[in-house]
């Protein structure tokens, strides 16, 4: 029971991170129908910017945790937004009316480029930072001394995710940008005719998605304390799996899918084999797609001739 609870906490934390990345996938897929393969690399860049900012803050002696974390979050969001915007502008916008495969290949190329770009500039070795936030609560203690702990960091990650999700839902449902976005998702041509700036809306979708991935990058840097240039690939695939699991195009679905993937991974590692946790994730993906191709919360796709 205690062990289960501990895995539940770990899984939820991991799931929050996946969910934040998955939102970027699901939004982009919803609006232009492509897999933004480079999204995982944005998350990786977010993590690198977090490391850089933490080191600089350390050099300037700014170590009061709330301020440091806020600055890191802000930096990461600003710079990853720029990357998200630039990637869309350079690699995807010129291909908007091309055959479906062209933007995907362009995205794969972008992903390979960004990985190697970071590797060349920041080094191939992994980058560790000292733990930023330590300590936590002891939720429950078993007789044999096994301690179910909920660290402050895990609380921060979960609370931050909830806050971001709340703000994000408000953004989609109650702002002009959100309305434009939903309009473009339904029918870009019509939205354009009715005065929605389609290009700008799509750009902003990428910016918002990238900022959320940047936050996820900061979280993972603080959570694991070590990153390298290759973390984006696997995290990207898992987040995409999460988006599909929740029903691609659906925002609550992406968050739910992320949490489910996090839980599956954490429980699988705890009760079965840690080596095959990725295999478990992909198997889940295959099973979901076979039995419920539109995902848990997605609308079924209508085939048109």
């Amino acid at each position: 029971m205690e062990y289960f609870l501990q895995q539940l906490i770990n899984g939820l934390t991991l799931g929050a991170i996946y969910g934040l990345i998955a939102i970027g996938y699901t939004m982009v897929y919803g609006i232009i129908g492509m897999i933004n393969f480079a999204h995982g690399e944005i998350y990786m860049i977010g993590a690198f910017i977090a490391v850089i900012t933490f080191v600089i803050l350390g050099m300037f002696g700014i170590t009061w945790v709330p301020i440091a974390v806020l600055i890191v979050l802000a930096m990461s969001m600003i710079f990853t937004s720029a990357y998200g915007w630039a990637i869309e502008r350079i690699a995807y916008r010129p291909l908007r009316h091309s055959p479906r495969l062209a933007p995907l290949i362009s995205a794969i190329g972008m992903s390979i480029f960004l990985q190697n770009y970071v590797q060349l500039l920041q080094g191939a070795r992994n980058r560790p930072i000292p733990p930023v936030i330590q300590g936590g609560f002891s939720v429950m203690e078993r007789a044999d001394g096994f301690n179910v702990s909920l660290s402050y960091l895990q609380i921060i990650i979960m609370v931050l995710t909830v806050v971001l999700m709340f703000g994000f839902t408000r953004l989609i449902n109650h702002t002009e940008l959100g309305r434009a976005q939903r309009a473009c998702e339904q029918d870009k041509t019509m939205a354009g005719l009715l005065g929605v700036d389609v290009d700008r809306t799509i750009s902003l979708t990428f910016v918002v998605g990238a900022a959320l991935a940047g936050v996820a990058g900061v979280m993972v840097t603080m959570y694991y304390g070590v990153i390298d240039f290759y973390i984006g690939f696997l995290a990207g695939i898992k987040a995409f799996t999460a988006a599909v699991l929740g029903g691609i195009g659906s925002l609550p679905g992406a968050m739910m899918g992320g949490i489910l993937i996090g839980l599956i991974e954490s429980f699988w590692s705890a009760y079965f084999t840690i080596e095959y946790k990725d295999v478990a994730t992909f198997s889940i993906l295959v099973l979901v797609l076979i039995f419920r191709p539109s995902g848990l919360l997605g609308r079924p796709e209508i085939e048109k001739v």
Partner: protein
């Protein structure tokens, strides 16, 4: 403005707007470059510190500003000053001590490209070709290539056959030939799935891995020879294709792509973790080399009772004999795949693939069993991947899961898509570009994958349908005309 070239539209230049646009580009460049280029993390005494590189950032931002300015001015009809200025920038960048090599390269190449655009604008009055215009031109090139390929094809094959005996062909050349042919074979194999059946397979390397490991393991545990294992590896790969394909082929488009990607990763993870059986991350070494069709071995001093190749043919022993034999082996395998594809396109099943690619709902309405037909394409392509894999294993003599990562799948897919889906000649051209070009710049190996990524993006931007995409209908109602004539006619009509 006196520098307006004759004929170029000379509307008033909104210098403020142009400057604003360039400044915006420079700002984005600053945001992109500042953290990752400007602030490098380095390990000093096992502690992470920051090494500032602000000069590089500044140069990059200035270059982006100038580049954007040049492009905007060309677009606004002021190509002549841009031409002069960009040539000056490119030339001075050549001599100025810029902080790093890549920056120098960007400055020189960027200056040259903008100069080219400006020169083009001076001649044709608009700086870039529209996408449609570009497509039409490239289609014509594609059509011409298609016509010529009846001639070029046999010449290329003759060249490939003669290559090992040409005067300049030393061991390195033949080795590169083997590498290119392996990718050509994989490209042709994947072309069946992607180009003909229109299924986006992101995990083709899985079947390559199955083929390679089947040979390696069968040889290790049972001592099977290469010639016995080659068909077995194909069979096993094809079976794994069936197993995977059966549940997932009902999925459409991108879902299918991501599941195949997942499958590719699963195979790799299993290979890494099933330590007792596959050797885990250490891989399998000492994989036996192929014999000369089971008759003779390629060794200097054969074991008693075994013939050796040089004795059999009465020639001097040389280690290159085996390399040349491997070269011909992969050449025959690759040509077999090509021949198979060319022929099967004319059979009912091949036509069904192409019909499914165009519209699978209509095909189902006509009574074609969608899943079975796709499954056939998938498992046939997997079989060819398996052949290539067991060839890879026997050539390397050593395999490990490292060789079968996602990047390999991406490279093979890039070859197919860059070449133009469904185009057999396109695969060859794209392989020469994607594999051959980086091979020539081995010394710049650390920038190889970087350039590969940029190259993929640029080629897609320039030509989204692939370099030699030209869809020749496999069946015609009226008499057959050459592709060139068709192109001409469709242009006349337009």
């Amino acid at each position: 403005m006196t520098a307006v070239a004759p004929g170029v539209r000379a509307h008033t230049l909104d210098i403020a707007a142009v400057l604003k646009e360039s400044a915006l580009a420079a700002l984005v460049a600053l945001l992109l470059a500042f953290p990752l280029v400007g602030l490098r993390t380095v390990d000093v005494l096992s502690r992470l510190t920051i090494e500032p590189h602000f000069a590089e950032v500044a140069v990059a931002v200035v270059l982006v500003f100038l580049g954007r300015l040049g492009m905007a001015l060309t677009r606004e009809g002021r190509p002549l000053p841009v031409l002069v200025a960009s040539l000056v920038v490119a030339a001075s960048a050549w001599f100025l001590p810029l902080p790093t090599m890549p920056l120098k390269l960007i400055a020189v190449a960027g200056g040259a490209i903008i100069a080219l655009r400006a020169a083009l604008a001076l001649r044709s009055h608009h700086s870039t070709l529209s996408l449609a215009e570009r497509e039409r031109r490239m289609d014509r090139v594609g059509a011409r290539f298609q016509d010529a390929s009846r001639l070029i094809g046999p010449i290329a094959v003759i060249f490939a056959v003669a290559l090992p005996f040409l005067p300049f062909a030393d061991r390195a050349v033949v080795d590169i030939g083997i590498l290119l042919l392996t990718y050509i074979m994989l490209g042709w194999g994947l072309n069946i799935v992607v180009g003909l059946a229109g299924l986006l397979d992101l995990g083709y390397v899985a079947f390559y891995a199955v083929g390679a490991y089947s040979y390696a393991l069968l040889a290790q545990y049972f001592g099977f020879s290469f010639w016995l294992c080659l068909p077995l590896a194909g069979l096993l790969a094809s079976l794994s294709g069936l197993l995977l394909g059966f549940p997932v082929l009902r999925l459409r488009g991108d879902y299918f792509a991501i599941v195949t990607l997942g499958f590719g990763e699963m195979i790799r993870i299993i290979l890494i973790n099933w330590y007792d059986f596959t050797g885990g991350p250490n891989g399998i070494s000492g994989i036996p080399r192929p014999s000369f069709f089971g008759i003779a071995d390629f060794v200097r001093n054969p074991e008693p009772g075994v013939l050796s190749f040089h004795e059999l043919f009465g020639v001097e022993y040389s280690s290159i004999q085996r390399i040349i034999f491997l070269y011909y082996l992969i050449l025959v395998l690759a040509l077999f795949v090509n021949f198979f594809t060319l022929r099967i396109r004319k059979l009912p099943i091949g036509r069904a693939w192409e019909a499914l690619r165009e519209d699978d709902v209509a095909c189902t309405a006509l009574g074609i069993n969608r899943t079975n037909i796709k499954l056939a394409a998938f498992s046939i392509a997997a079989m060819f991947g398996g052949f290539a894999g067991s060839f890879f294993a026997t050539r390397q003599g050593f395999i490990s899961p490292e060789s079968f990562s996602f990047i390999e799948s991406a490279i093979i897919l890039a070859i197919v898509v860059l070449g133009g889906m469904g185009s057999q000649a396109g695969v060859v051209v794209a392989t020469l570009l994607v594999i051959g070009l980086p091979e020539m710049f081995r010394e710049l190996s650390q920038y190889r994958m970087l350039a590969f990524g940029i190259g993929m993006v640029l080629i897609m931007l320039w030509r989204p349908r692939g370099l030699l995409a030209h869809r020749d209908p496999t069946i015609l109602l009226h008499k057959r005309k050459s592709a060139m004539q068709q192109q001409q006619e469709s242009e006349d009509r337009a």
